[in-house]
Amino acid sequence: MFIASQLMNGLASSALLLLYSLGVVMIMGHMSVVNMAHGECIMLGAYVCYYLYTVAGVPYLLSLMMSFFITALFGAAVERLIIRKLYGKTAETLLATYALSLIIKQLVNLVCGSELKYVAVPFDGNISVFGVTVPLYNIFIIVITAMVLFATWLIFYKTPFGMKMRAATGNRSMTECLGINCRAVDTLTFAYGVGLAGFAGAVLAPIRGVSPFMGASYVTDSFMNVCVGGLQSLPGTALSSLLIGQSTSILGGIWNEVNAKMLVFLIVVVMIRFRPDGLFKKERR
């Protein structure tokens, strides 16, 4: 019973991890940009959700969608103004996005205040199956993550935009030659990645604290997760989320949270050393 509960918990944690890592897959995997402000993008999504859902009384699902679009819009602006000029310069991008994270954090702090914001849990309650209690919101998380994953996969592999995007990451100059507007593709990809982060923030808002500093706890986790998954690969990241989420959950269950977190972290570091291309990536020349 305990194990069954832990597996369900692990599944929900995995889904959350995947949800807030998806944006990183887009931005780090496909654009080779390490967005140090990823946590702040999550935070912005959570704030948009707070203002729409708690303050303005907009229905939750609509607030979720709005969080996505508003943060995506913000992402597009950031790409146009800052990231665009820094492609190929890893160090500069890291520093610029770090600067961005400082600025966003402090602006939100000054404008919205530093206190934790209250966001009610939209699907309150739980169901019990054979003695395993599963909160409805956890089920919602799992379902919505699956949907977002599926939607992203569709966009990736089944639409002309996805094809262009994959082409752009594969071979830039070649893609330019084919008459594809790489700049527009870049902007859209970045905006989509940031939008996903904002969406994740809105999903996190009801069950986690919403504050200007909330982003920090998600950044390294999502970077590590995407590294394990193999940077560009959606199924890889999904699998690694499952692996990390479940192992943290089970180790935490039989041991304790502190040690579980550290052990998983160490394993990830060692893994990156031996398979820098990710766990699930085939050997390439």
Binding site: S32, V34, M36, I82, K85, L86, T90, A91, E92, L94, L95, A96, Y98, A99, L100, L102, I103, K105, Q106, L107, N109, L110, T220, F223, M224, C227, V258, K261, M262, F265, L266, V268, V269, I272, R273, F274, P276
Partner: protein
């Protein structure tokens, strides 16, 4: 003709300026300011150590504070254990010191360990990372994870490290020498000068040239007959030792050490200092540290709220306006002026016989 280019680069004048500034500073400042400047001087050593790694070799470490903090913790633990079981331990019901305490109680050994352990950790990590051909961004990500692990680890070993509260009440001692603020300040400045001289010597040596070549094109270097991995491990270890030394000098001024001193925040901050000052020329690391830290205290005395905005703005301004940093830009200007002259002279010479 060559004389003009061989003139002293502009950054050496700035170095001299910083040095003079550090030396005369206590004559005009109160003890609080001197203590603050001492911390900044320790940070300068730290920044110099990272400049070797990032500025020269192109390895952007996001966990350099781990090495700095380890150095600090070695002396911090040594002082804490020197008086027997510390208060925080006895309150948790611990009556005996851990096994390694007897080693750390010896101040000299602890001080040596403060240099050796960060160096060794860097070397071991380097061995793992550089021989596996982990590339640029992964080095940053692994070191970032390292900072996270160590911060969590030190925060959670509360029975030994007093957790997030850290070790407090640490004296101003360095290798057994206990001094008042100003003398200790001069001791620190002395170490800064030594470290600076060492870094200068390293960067001008063949070793330094090899490091720069690694930054420029690691593969090409291996075709000239160097093993880049060994060089990277060596510079990481040297940089680690210097970072540990910086931590050991920082702690006495700070009076305490806590897990934030080995976390991601400090690691990122020091990268920012170097970026603003200009990387790969030592001067930039020192100047950046000085400017950013001064600005920070000064602005926070007016309004604490605007500092993150100012810092963020400064970073963006540097990246877009002077990507090579303050000192880098100055060097560029000087070089361009001199190069233009030289090239003009060469072309004049070549044209003459043709006419």
């Amino acid at each position: 003709m060559l004389g003009k280019l061989k003139k002293l680069p502009v950054n050496r004048y700035i170095d001299a300026g910083i040095l003079v500034f550090l030396l005369v500073f206590p004559l005009f400042a109160n003890n609080y300011r001197v203590g603050f400047m001492g911390k900044t001087a320790a940070y300068m050593i730290f920044a110099l150590s990272l400049d070797l790694l990032w500025g020269y070799t192109g390895l952007m470490s996001f966990g350099h504070a781990v090495l700095f903090g380890l150095g600090g913790y070695m002396v911090g633990l040594s002082f804490t254990f020197s008086g027997g079981v510390p208060d925080f331990m006895s309150r948790m019901g611990i009556t005996e010191l851990p096994w390694f305490a007897s080693v750390l109680q010896n101040e000299y050994i602890a001080s040596l360990l403060g240099i050796i352990i960060p160096g060794a950790l860097a070397a071991i990590l380097g061995y793992f990372i550089f021989y596996s051909k982990v590339k640029g961004i992964f080095f940053s990500l692994i070191t970032m994870a390292l900072a996270q692990i160590f911060e969590t680890f030190f925060a959670n070993q509360s029975a030994i490290t007093n957790g997030t509260s850290g070790l407090g009440g640490l004296p101003r001692r360095f290798f057994g020498i206990e001094l008042r603020v100003k003398p200790f300040y001069y001791l620190t400045v002395g170490v800064v000068i030594l470290v600076y001289a060492l870094c200068l010597r390293l960067s001008c040596s063949r070793f330094g040239k090899a490091l720069t070549s690694i930054r420029e094109d690691e593969n090409r270097l291996s075709f000239v007959g160097y093993n880049p991995a060994k060089f990277k491990i060596a510079v990481f270890a040297i940089s680690g030792m210097l970072a540990g030394l910086a931590g050991m000098l920082f702690v006495p001024f700070n009076g305490m050490i806590s897990p934030t001193e080995l976390g991601i925040n400090l690691s990122t901050s020091v990268l920012v200092w170097i970026a603003i000052g200009g990387r790969g020329n030592l001067t930039g690391a020192m100047l950046g540290t000085l400017i950013v830290n001064w600005l920070q205290t000064l602005l926070s005395e007016f309004s604490a709220d605007i500092w993150p905005l100012v810092l963020g703005g400064m970073i963006l301004a540097v990246i877009f306006v002077i990507p090579t940093g303050i000192v880098g830009k100055l060097k560029e200007l000087q070089y361009n002026a001199n190069a233009r002259k030289t090239l003009r002279e060469i072309s004049q010479k070549e044209e003459l016989p043709n006419e």
